[in-house]
Symmetry: C2
Subunit: 355 residues, 2 copies
Amino acid sequence: MPDKKRPTIKTIAEIAGLSHVAVSKALRDAPDISAETKARVRLIADETGYIANAYARSLSTKATNMIGMIVPAVGENVMYSAVFNEMSALAAKKGVSLLLGCTGRSIELEKQYCQNMCENRIGALIVSPSTSEVSHFIGICKDTVPIIFLGGKTGLEQRHCLTMDYYDSGVTAVNYLNRLGHRRIALFLYHPDNNTIRQKLNGYRETMEKLDLKPEVYWEGDSSDTYHAGETLVNRLIRQDSLPSAIWCASDLMALGVMEALRKNKIRVPEQVSVLGHDDLFISAIDSISLSTFSTPAGAIGRKLLEMAEALMKDDGQADTGGMQEVFRSTLTIRQSTGPYIAPSVPGDRSEQDK
Amino acid sequence: MPDKKRPTIKTIAEIAGLSHVAVSKALRDAPDISAETKARVRLIADETGYIANAYARSLSTKATNMIGMIVPAVGENVMYSAVFNEMSALAAKKGVSLLLGCTGRSIELEKQYCQNMCENRIGALIVSPSTSEVSHFIGICKDTVPIIFLGGKTGLEQRHCLTMDYYDSGVTAVNYLNRLGHRRIALFLYHPDNNTIRQKLNGYRETMEKLDLKPEVYWEGDSSDTYHAGETLVNRLIRQDSLPSAIWCASDLMALGVMEALRKNKIRVPEQVSVLGHDDLFISAIDSISLSTFSTPAGAIGRKLLEMAEALMKDDGQADTGGMQEVFRSTLTIRQSTGPYIAPSVPGDRSEQDK
DNA sequence: TTGAAAGCGCTACCAC
DNA sequence: GTGGTAGCGCTTTCAA
């Protein structure tokens, strides 16, 4: 209980010889208070170290300036960090505070956070659920706290949501590699076979077929160790002497495994095999790796999320015209791991135009 | 304003035919309410979707269940994420909510967050300041909100703090490498020459001297691109034909640059040169990198921070016996990039005991 | 231009 | 066991 000796508007009122109401008005710059009174009040407020009590204010106005966010985790290899960084700064400037909770994919914690945040009267909740089962969130928030669902576990069936279009990544990946002259373009995937993976697969497959190319899809390992999965697949294909000229990996980590396996086998990237990733880990940008990949527009997502949350907070759930749904696409980031197709055993063709 | 139609204790009281006071007590499991009344009240609360209003409660009790945390950023390559993940889950279970703010090292934002959080009556503030200038935090929090300073910008001059002992890292690094038989152990540093770097340097230098070894310290580049700094230093030392047998780098990224440069020069790690890092990036654990390094005990730090914050919240700033100060050490994580010293040009000595 | 009264949802205190 | 009263710090409404 640190609220030990904070001055209140009454403290200020007493010093200024005014009523607490006048002080309240003065501090909020109400039009019906004289300039000099305002100045005097503000001076005293500064001197006494007055800080408004948001609880009392919210109780009275029924407004809130808090937004909750629940995600599996922030940290390495997870895009929520970048999204949060962006939201945080923007929100602060508007006087909005962000409550953040990391669940580690525990449903129990999801409930707990949701409950705690609702008790703190958040104006909106942004949640990236662990599973597609989200009834506990809805049950707690009822129709008093609007929820924005984030990420691939849920889709457009949720009233307010922001999702990624990985189908588009598939289309873009194939078209890009094909434009470089590649015809054997493989797709490396890992389990589990979820929404996200499925979208990439569909985008890839349909585009390959549209281009009259034969899809080559390889599954290996699971999400806990995609690096090894990538290595394993490359080694297997080398043994079978059927290495494609381009490989698109569902994750950067998998692509790193692929590049490492190729390197160990003295196969040059991108001259002999082009490698394309997905996620844009910070390590991927390092010179000696320089992995072409798909980047998530985290900044834009953060800005949009905040915008949606603010709209819903103000909206009172009334004027709300049928839900807010946003779909973002990853953008292709071209580095040194992809290059034009160079037919094998055609010596002299060393035009290394890594366009 | 989403607080549209939340039931309050009065709503429940009306339905139950009780006073709102009785309901309040029943929900808090007060001893002077009959079991059946409690059951009935709780049932109605569930049915109506009652959720307590933390604002009203705090206003009345003057207690708070919110902790604020201000850090430069969460995300890849930053330890705050792991610390926050840990704190978040623990706090949730105790009904404590965490406000998080990322400053991007902007002083303006630091002030803004601090102000917003104090308005929200946090019980304690944990802050990792951008610079050693922290008077704005103290000015806003006064002596009503206890502050725990985190990280290397501030030291034990702050009443409550949690810092890292990088001097110890230096001692451990040198002793470890020396025990492997290395005598030429170099230290690679980058600018700026701050607290953190200085601690590593001192620990390194003093231990080297204690062992009668000659310190070899190389500075290069700055914190924005330590990877290249590492590459540059290796290439320079190779040109000068004075590569040491062991290199300790102030960051993992720098060590990755070192390893890459060594690889390009066909110098084997760890047989010819042992490389030791600092930070334990997630990429460092990958098989093909397998960098020996120092890991930050993020989980333990998170737990301790929460414990400190809770103690300070309850403490009312009274019983407070002279500040809480904690110092953590990084732990040595041994992987494949370090090995016993092998004297050069002694053929046949291929005993690759990567102990 | 200023202020008195009422109330936001909850809890503490004391009387019944 | 139960409930009335008062008050937390602030805003809103309306009267002065």
